[in-house]
Symmetry: C2
Subunit: 408 residues, 2 copies
Amino acid sequence: MAKSLPRSPLAPARFPALPVIDGVRFATVAAGVRYQGRTDVMLAVLDPGTSVVGVFTRSATRAAPVLDCQEKIGGPATGGAAIVVNSGNANAFTGHYGQASVREVVNAVSAVVGVPVERVFTSSTGVIGEPLPHERIVARLEELNGALDAGGIEAAAEAIRTTDTFAKGAGAEVEIAGRTVRIAGIAKGSGMIAPDMATMLVYVFTDAAYDQAAFQQRLGEITDRTFNCITVDSDTSTSDSLLLCATGASGVDATGNAEFDAALEEVMRDLAHQVVRDGEGATKFVEIRVTGAADDADARTHGLSIANSPLVKTAIAGEDPNWGRIVMAIGKSGARADRDRLSISFGDILVAEKGWVSPDYREEAAAEYMRRPELVIAVDLGLGDGQATVWTCDLTHGYIEINADYRS
Amino acid sequence: MAKSLPRSPLAPARFPALPVIDGVRFATVAAGVRYQGRTDVMLAVLDPGTSVVGVFTRSATRAAPVLDCQEKIGGPATGGAAIVVNSGNANAFTGHYGQASVREVVNAVSAVVGVPVERVFTSSTGVIGEPLPHERIVARLEELNGALDAGGIEAAAEAIRTTDTFAKGAGAEVEIAGRTVRIAGIAKGSGMIAPDMATMLVYVFTDAAYDQAAFQQRLGEITDRTFNCITVDSDTSTSDSLLLCATGASGVDATGNAEFDAALEEVMRDLAHQVVRDGEGATKFVEIRVTGAADDADARTHGLSIANSPLVKTAIAGEDPNWGRIVMAIGKSGARADRDRLSISFGDILVAEKGWVSPDYREEAAAEYMRRPELVIAVDLGLGDGQATVWTCDLTHGYIEINADYRS
């Protein structure tokens, strides 16, 4: 989609100043895969010894690049590695042609960059069902390889956008035993966002070393608390991919380091929030905190049921403190709930408790609160210790305009 | 909600001429429960010996009238029976006050109409979380009882509407052993429609006799193929109730009669379709036929995943034959699918087969088809004999307007 959408009102003021990750270089090019007049292919090249771990969509109709990445993840960290991403075409539901396109790109990257084919990872994002013009990508690989730059991460974040209205990045620095290790990540995504296992396209890099098997496991755990807790529209993409790369160039092994893990989680949460802030048509960023559920899984089910409810999302768009719709979403979720133990708050305003509206509740105060661009809805089930936090946005005319009037 | 919405473009031309069901009489009144200037309470009184069976929402936050009905369903068909329904207030999430309101209404109806309290069924539909002004209903019961009329079913269908833009009715006549039995039903519903076990408010009457236990079982089976196969917005109401009443006044026992069961199913399907045709903001009526699934349950899961997908529904609103979004919805549903065996058609137009677009597909033809107000989307999984048909509508600016700008 080449149309120009206005920048989301929930966007951060600017792209953050990200630390440079030693051992990774980026380049981008305007290859004309689908869009005109903007970059649409990015190449990242990783030094030999880099661990690459990843999580991917569980869709039964996964795109060809996802299937190829899944085969390769977990291989030994020998030789270098490369990541190639194009926007404008998802190379999804393109049959054998799609698999052949992935092979063409992977073989060409391997030859030009000098890394083994089993260490070339590709992602494609954009329209589903149209053949990927892979020759347009292959034709620009020499140029990309010649332009690699350790400082190119912001340009990379720009090149992978589709309906995104801003480029998304987050970074951190952590001191481990007196030495500094760095984390920097980028993401794209704004619609078809209801990650199941992973999400959208996300690339996170660190110059720490990290045991690859432990890294894969930690990635899964953090993904469950970050990207798997966001939703824009309950629709799960065929292309969701998250690659996490540890170059080890800092000389510091961060395996199992709690500070490093916390910094990594913060970077991933920040990127996940940026995806919600760029939700198609979004005007509100909503955090839904569920506590007191029978267990954590029930809490997440309730949270996502609220976050995905069109009636809740339209009420938020209309700045209407319509807490009855939250009761409805809890009731339909299938997870355990007792109407008479339930309490609901908007920010600090207690709305409902013990099965009915709170005696102190004043709708004017709640209506005033709902006018804020960032909202917290807290639900306590009163049943146990289960908790979860999920993030979503509202459902507005903008979402209908973007998705009914254009083919993305 | 007292606002006046334009009649749905998908509405039938007029309310049907329904057969009069001997043994049932109706009355309505404008009690001012919430709306002004329109009827909002209906009373139906059923002759002694009437079997009443029902299905109800499985929401964990069910409204007080639903809980009361569920306790009573299955009781012996002695004495008469009565059904009282108000629109404008759902009496849901109203705690002990809500239960007391139901008792007040039930006791008053029992006294005025002369039926046992355990045979008085109530439903309430409208805003959630506000106390039901039951005294306004009780005050009008004598008047209602004095106005009972066997021909009053259309007025009853009018009185139970909330955001419905038209009153919904369907009927049938069946010859059994040379005698005629009659079926007539009414329904309301247009938003918060994703029935789970039952749906909205639906009342179906027949003058046949029918063994009560067999009737309850048959009702469950038919509900699974009709009301449980429609969705407007994936949100399940706290008030969904369907009551089916057999007065036996025709003197014909229809228990297990295949023609009667088929006619009943047709009446229920017709009512279910009318609810979809009145979906909030709907401009398209969409039938999704799923075949070739591993089993029927998988077929229904795929069908509802397509029918509930905001991206599919907005594409339909935009008359865009965006079949890639159907692939996405199948992929995310969690039911079994093999990308390379999947085929998708719009009406008679084969769009995709064997994992990619059909070689004969012409987007112009599909775009032309999508301009129709009634669409059939057929999906074959190529895996087995499982099948299901579900019905939905599109997602338009009208839905956002109705739900973001007003409190319903």
